[in-house]
């Protein structure tokens, strides 16, 4: 089965400056600019959350192997925009990530919004750094309106390579207010 036709991608280390550059590049990509506004905004939102999650939570390794590097890509497949990201994580985080994503995948939109409401104030109190990955994942799931696909595989230095794939419908009905 053919994968998405990628029109934007990056592999390598991240910092906030790199994220700024990548987002500029994404916005200037023709295929992105041609998207309906609401689709483009959702894709942008998910890309930001993916990049910031990688920056804040990814494990680092001395490995220079390409398959251990963080990456992000945006592509199109069957009228869906597919955002894929990958990064190293420490093994003890795997079950927590799985639990979080499985929980989100089992929820409908109303439940997700309620979870968002309950978590947004809670994370402010509980997370001194204000950078909880949970809220970002909730937002990605809401923006996508599809299950989040993920995988884990063994990587170098006893780390695990985590991949996440988020699908967003390319077309949305125009709303007349």
């Amino acid at each position: 089965m053919a994968g998405p036709e990628v029109f934007f991608s990056y592999t390598g280390p991240l910092d906030y400056q790199q994220i700024d550059l990548l987002l500029i590049q994404l916005r200037e990509t023709g295929r992105f600019r041609d998207l309906q506004k609401i689709t483009g905004k959702r894709v942008y939102s998910v890309v930001v959350e993916c990049l910031e999650n990688i920056l804040k939570h990814a494990a680092t390794s001395d490995s220079t192997q390409n398959e251990d590097q963080p990456y992000i890509s945006v592509g199109e497949y069957n009228d869906m925009i597919i955002i894929s990201s990958g990064n190293l994580v420490i093994e003890k985080k795997v079950e927590k990530i799985k639990h979080c994503l499985n929980k989100l995948n089992g929820m409908n939109r109303r439940d997700l919004l309620e979870l968002y409401e309950n978590n947004i104030a809670k994370e402010l109190k509980d997370n001194a750094n204000g950078n909880g990955a949970g809220l970002g994942c909730i937002i990605m799931r809401i923006k996508s309106n599809h299950n989040l696909w993920y995988s884990f595989k063994n990587a170098s230095d006893n780390l695990i390579y985590f991949e996440l794939r988020i699908s967003i419908n390319k077309y949305h009905e125009k709303v007349n207010n």
Binding site: Y16, K41, E117, I120, L135
Partner: protein
């Protein structure tokens, strides 16, 4: 009270908190790298402003806050909620506070985000659509 004005950058919004000219707005894209530093100064200003308002007990004027985000990330959402909570408290205390939540035409996600904020802080916002 001194005003707080922060210029817009590639990853942070323009902020105008100017009581002398009755201008209170946050505009643009919000994903600043140091979220607590950026929003911390805004929240500190609003807390101080609240104290002065309460001390003066001047409830005659209408204070309108405009939120006009093109985008904000999940971390910013938490901080924006904190700001809305301060405004909601002032409204509960009897001050004439209005919040305008702007959104672009067809950007129902931004409209929904405003409605979520409004619901959480129990403060009815005005929703203003910007036409393309």
């Amino acid at each position: 009270m001194r005003k707080l004005i922060i210029d817009r950058t590639i990853n942070s919004p323009k902020v105008i908190l100017d009581p002398d000219n009755n201008l209170f707005e946050i505009t643009g894209e919000s994903r600043p790298p140091d979220i607590r530093e950026f929003y911390g100064q805004i929240i500190a200003w609003l807390e101080e402003f609240s104290k002065k308002l309460i001390t003066s007990n001047d409830k005659s004027g209408k204070l309108t806050f405009n939120f006009d985000f093109e985008y904000f990330n999940s971390s910013s959402g938490k901080m924006i909620l904190d700001i809305c909570k301060i405004l909601s408290r002032l409204r509960t205390d009897g001050f004439n506070i209005e919040v305008n939540w702007h959104y672009e035409e067809d950007d129902l996600d931004m409209l929904e985000a405003g409605k979520e904020m409004s619901k959480i802080v129990r403060f009815p916002f005005e929703y203003l659509q910007k036409l393309n």
